[in-house]
């Protein structure tokens, strides 16, 4: 069902943990749906110096958050902003159709952390990240409860 890359990231997740003095923290998903992703960012001079994640969810939720952290660590904020769920799926060698929403969550978790970062800096995140960057609904009717 899962590619080798997914299983590899699930078995050996990269950057798992927390950053106590993070510059940006974002959390998306909800317990009722069965997945929550939380991303912590340390940003210096426009570069993602460090990133950690915590995820509650299935193997693909853990794998997508792991690889997403790897894809932005050491990169510029602009690159992190541009991280798409498609790129996450590609990096994992594909995901089963009903797991694509995990990659969407991973993208949104990064955006949520960036949102929090800009917010803290007194910069309006909406023009940079897009108004709807934080809508984390994926066809379920559990949200908003």
């Amino acid at each position: 069902m899962y590619t080798e890359q997914v299983m590899e990231h699930f078995t050996n997740p990269r950057n798992m943990g927390e950053i106590a003095d993070a510059d940006g923290v974002g959390e998306v998903g909800n317990a009722k749906c069965g997945d929550i992703m939380k991303i912590f960012l340390k940003i210096k001079d426009g570069i993602i110096e460090d990133v950690k994640f915590k995820t509650y969810g299935c193997a693909s939720a853990i794998a997508t958050s792991s690889i997403a952290t790897e894809m932005i660590k050491g990169h510029s904020i602009e690159e992190a902003v541009a991280l798409s769920n498609k790129a996450v799926v590609e990096a994992l060698g594909g995901l089963p159709a009903h797991k694509i929403h995990c990659s969407v969550l991973a993208e949104q978790a990064v955006k949520a952390a960036l949102w929090n970062y800009y917010d803290k800096q007194g910069i309006d995140p909406a023009p940079i990240l897009g108004e709807n960057a934080l809508c984390d609904c994926h066809d379920c009717d559990h949200c908003g409860e």
Partner: protein, 397 residues
Amino acid sequence: MEKFIYADNAATTAVSNKVLEQMMPYFSEQYGNASSLYSFGQKAKAGVNKAREQIASAIGAENSNEIYFTGGGSESDNWAIKGVAHSMAKKGKNHIISTAFEHHAVLHCLDKLKKEGFEITLLDVHSDGLVRVDELEAAIREDTALVTVMYANNEIGTVQPIKEIGEVCKKHRVIFHTDAVQAVGNIPIDVKDAAIDLLSMSSHKFHGPKGVGALYIRKGIVIPNLIDGGAQERGRRAGTENTAGIVGMGAAIEIAVATMEERAKRLSEIRDYIIDNALKIERSRVNGDRKHRLPGNVSLCFEGIEGESLLLMLDAKGVCASSGSACTSGSLDPSHVLLSIGLPHEVAHGSLRLSFSDENTMEDAEYILSVLPPIVERLRLMSPLWDRIKMEEKENN
């Protein structure tokens, strides 16, 4: 050698060697058509008839001609439920009583019948996963055509008060069907004693082959034929018999019943040992009543983690198990069984089912208990939900 523990016997079981041995001749030696008149065909027929006797005797049927072979549990359920519904509708009876936690082979039949205009009452199974007979009796109406309540639940293993239900149905002259797919071969069944009118079974749940099952239809119960065609199964389910499969099912049920008592004792020890020890993990729970429970069923929930991750980590340690989380059910919701006993979604997502058979040992239990707690801990370490649970715990103290 790499560890391999198969603890998913509620999903399916291995065909045992003894069963396989009895099946083998029917593939290439006794391959005759059981409907043929020459003695070669009649040998195949004898194999089928013997299996029919074995099954009748295993469930206490009056006569082996009350046993009809089918293609498995789902087919038996479909035939029984739609069959009774359609034949009773002609008498103006359009109401069916069942439970919220039936197998989909039952629930999806009921969905379909509902669309056809039947009225369905699904009984609450309470937090212990048990139907209340007084509630069932209260639900019976003048126009009730059928009561269908599973003998034992496939996910949480709870065994229903079938005899009491049978008596109530008999008293009110309502036809009673039970999906006994998980019960047959594991706990004693007597269709006469429990006043069961129709009973579904499936061979692959008790070390028989897959794709073969049977429906017990008590003499006098009228339901339409399932498949029209030849005279097989007395014309009610036409098609050349799956001789080897049927022989295998007969052999398997005979062995299962003969060894039941000893096995039930052994498996319930394994079951209770695992449950008792797994419950030492904080924020864990056992699903379903502990007393009225299949000998080989363990169903647990661990808060703060998700079932699919848990299964894959167990798999990496060589343990095959199952879960009722949304991710494993392939839908957005966790299993309807876990929701039916009132578990919140987030708790049901962290479910684990281990189911044991003849082939499991106490050593398996020891091994599972050695790998399970570290896996739960590892997943909780990653889980922001777990952090939240612990935070709330602190705030409440």
